[in-house]
């Protein structure tokens, strides 16, 4: 139980107050102890991320002398300047947006369509079909890697961004369908029936009644899908070959050769590459966590 006295280091003051108050309480050391334990763990957990931050504002010389993990005497911004001036980085960014934005939008659209049917227009065998789609979430992508490689190779789409967009759209359908079905299930059926009696068709119910109500669910999916697709490594690794088509995560790996001992530049590069997902995380953290737990618990 939260005991404000627990943070009173003297302890005596709290005891004296308690003696006057109606319910005397013994000094509880637990909240303070827990706070300290959590603080230590938090520092431990932050250390790796902090390392990247620190490296990005140091010169290679400082890092080579073993000073990566210390706070710098002065902030060096040359690493960021180097990354921002690199045209390859711009290209990687554009490519990643070209993949992430359409794939996020398409997978959510399909999830909305399918989720609506499973929630509001139940049919025989529908539950089984729903389960089959949702279980797609659990399989390692390696399971479908080779046939997809053959398919897109045959279509002449190797070393383009198309396969990555298509595949992320398809692989996003399970989670999007799951969350949208669960959300639509909470929209009162009476709303739909009233609209239908008034002469609306199913499409109008979906777009004018159900969708405006489901903005929170859409936000959850947008944050999840954006983060996953932005961070993905496997599919661009398989389907892109030339540097012109690389996405940012592969780009970082490519540039490692170029900046092999320029650790500071590598740090700045990692940080800039993570910026979009970090921004999404900071602003939509609530939705992000909700999506993770919803997807996990209901799956």
């Amino acid at each position: 139980m939260a005991d404000p006295g627990g943070f009173d280091h003297s302890g005596g003051g709290a005891a004296a107050d308690a003696a006057i108050g109606p319910a005397p309480r013994p000094f509880d050391p637990w909240p303070a102890t827990i706070f300290v334990i959590l603080l230590c763990l938090a520092v431990l957990f932050l250390a790796p991320t902090l390392g990247v931050l620190l490296s990005s504002i140091k010169t290679t010389r400082e890092i080579a002398f073993g000073e990566l993990w210390m706070f710098p005497a002065r902030i060096y911004l040359g690493n960021f300047a180097e990354v921002i001036a690199n045209p390859a980085v711009h290209r990687y960014f554009v490519n990643t947006f070209l993949v992430t934005v359409p794939a996020t939008a398409l997978s959510i659209t399909f999830g909305v369509l399918a989720g609506y049917v499973f929630a509001k227009l139940p049919f025989k065998g529908g539950n089984l079909l729903f389960l089959a789609i949702v279980s797609g979430m659990f399989f390692p992508p390696q399971v479908i890697l080779i046939p997809l490689f053959r398919l897109f190779n045959g279509l002449g789409l190797i070393d383009t961004l198309w396969p990555i967009i298509f595949i992320h759209t398809a692989m996003g359908i399970p989670i999007c369908t799951l969350l949208m079905r669960n959300f639509f299930a909470t929209v009162p059926g009476a709303l739909r029936e009233a609209a239908i009696l008034e002469g609306a068709n199913e499409w109008q119910v979906l777009t004018r009644i159900a969708l405006p109500l489901s903005l929170p669910a859409l936000a959850v999916l947008a944050t999840l899908q954006f983060t996953w697709i932005w961070n993905d490594f496997l599919w661009p690794l398989i389907f892109t070959q030339s540097d012109e088509k690389r996405t940012i995560m592969l780009g970082i790996v490519n540039l490692k050769g170029q900046y092999s001992v320029a650790w500071g530049v590598q740090g700045a590069l990692s940080l800039i590459a993570s910026l979009p997902t970090l921004i999404v995380f900071l602003f939509f953290q609530r939705y992000f966590i909700k999506g993770m737990t919803m997807g996990a618990v209901k799956g």
């Binding site: 073993g66 049917v117 227009l121 399971v143 737990t293």
Partner: protein, 293 residues
């Protein structure tokens, strides 16, 4: 009315189902098909080789090695992120100040990509100026010369630690969601009856968190089967295949040696393992439903 419903079902489901069927379901079955061939990835021609690819799995020492590593990874995945996540959730749930900030700190690594996480940890394990060796140096006074990722004995364990660091936040939030659903009155009764904090956690909270635990373990095991990106970045499966997993082995055989037939056979095995785990998971969830109604 029913006719209209059927029309809309077809219209709304057609596109999502078609995309899912073409890009997920069909490739899944194709993997089975290719696992019986010797396709090399480029020729349009290939031959059927029957069960030869599966027979090869039995004799392939690298497959056995990868399977053992995957098993080690799974066990570690069940223990590390689950226990850590549970511990953190219990600590944060004790209503200390700054709980939300702590939650974000532990959750932050989840939104970083495997590439970035891999790079961070490569630096931690770096031989000359890495954080780990620096700490050991400060504590013991002796300068350790361990290249954690370059030694077969430590490579896999080092990657697992990095991966657990990222996964812990996920199990923590699932446990926190589970803790919210435990009734306040129940815990108050425990306090009135004189149960200690430890008794309360061990005898009441943890049993009530069983659904969350099932979810956390299932997710960890499934994610460990997917263990690829971070390995690719940190060790590439090396040194000497000491950190190969099944997913990594599949990639190597298919896209480095161009043995796509054999790679398909490995992916079929991966599929069967995942299927088994998913079935156990759903059965456990159903059992819980029966108990709790």
């Amino acid at each position: 009315m029913e006719r209209e419903n059927r029309f809309w079902r077809i219209v709304l489901l057609a596109l999502p189902l078609a995309v899912f069927a073409v890009l997920v379901v069909w490739p899944l079955f194709s993997s089975f098909y290719y696992s019986f061939t010797n396709w090399n990835g480029f020729d349009s021609r290939y031959e059927f080789v029957g069960f030869r690819n599966f027979a090869k799995i039995y004799t392939d020492k690298l497959f056995l090695n990868a399977a053992i590593n995957t098993a080690i990874w799974m066990v570690a995945a069940i223990l590390l992120p689950t226990l850590l996540g549970l511990g953190l959730a219990l600590l944060i749930d004790s209503r200390i100040p700054g709980g939300t900030i702590f939650k974000s700190v532990f959750y932050l690594p989840i939104c970083l990509s495997a590439v970035v996480v891999g790079q961070i940890w490569v630096w931690i394990y770096q031989q000359d100026w890495g954080l780990l060796n620096t700490v050991i140096w400060t504590v013991t006074g002796e300068r350790p010369a361990i290249a954690w990722l370059a030694k077969p004995e430590t490579a896999l364990g080092s990657v697992i630690v990095a991966w657990s660091w990222q996964q812990t936040g996920l199990s923590m939030v699932i446990y926190l969601a589970g803790l919210v659903s435990i009734q306040e009155e129940l815990l108050e009764v425990c306090e009135i009856e004189g149960a200690s904090a430890w008794q309360r956690i061990r005898l009441v909270i943890i049993p009530l968190l069983t659904p969350a635990t099932i979810v956390v373990i299932a997710l960890s095991v499934i994610n460990s089967l997917k263990g690829f990106d971070i390995l690719f970045i940190m060790t590439g499966g090396g040194p000497f295949h000491s950190s190969d997993t099944l997913a990594m082995h599949m990639y190597n055989e298919s896209f480095r040696k161009y043995l796509m037939g054999y790679g398909s056979a490995i992916s079929v095995v991966l599929f069967l393992i995942a299927l088994t785990i998913i079935r156990i998971y759903f059965r456990q969830l159903r059992k819980l439903d029966e108990i709790h109604g």
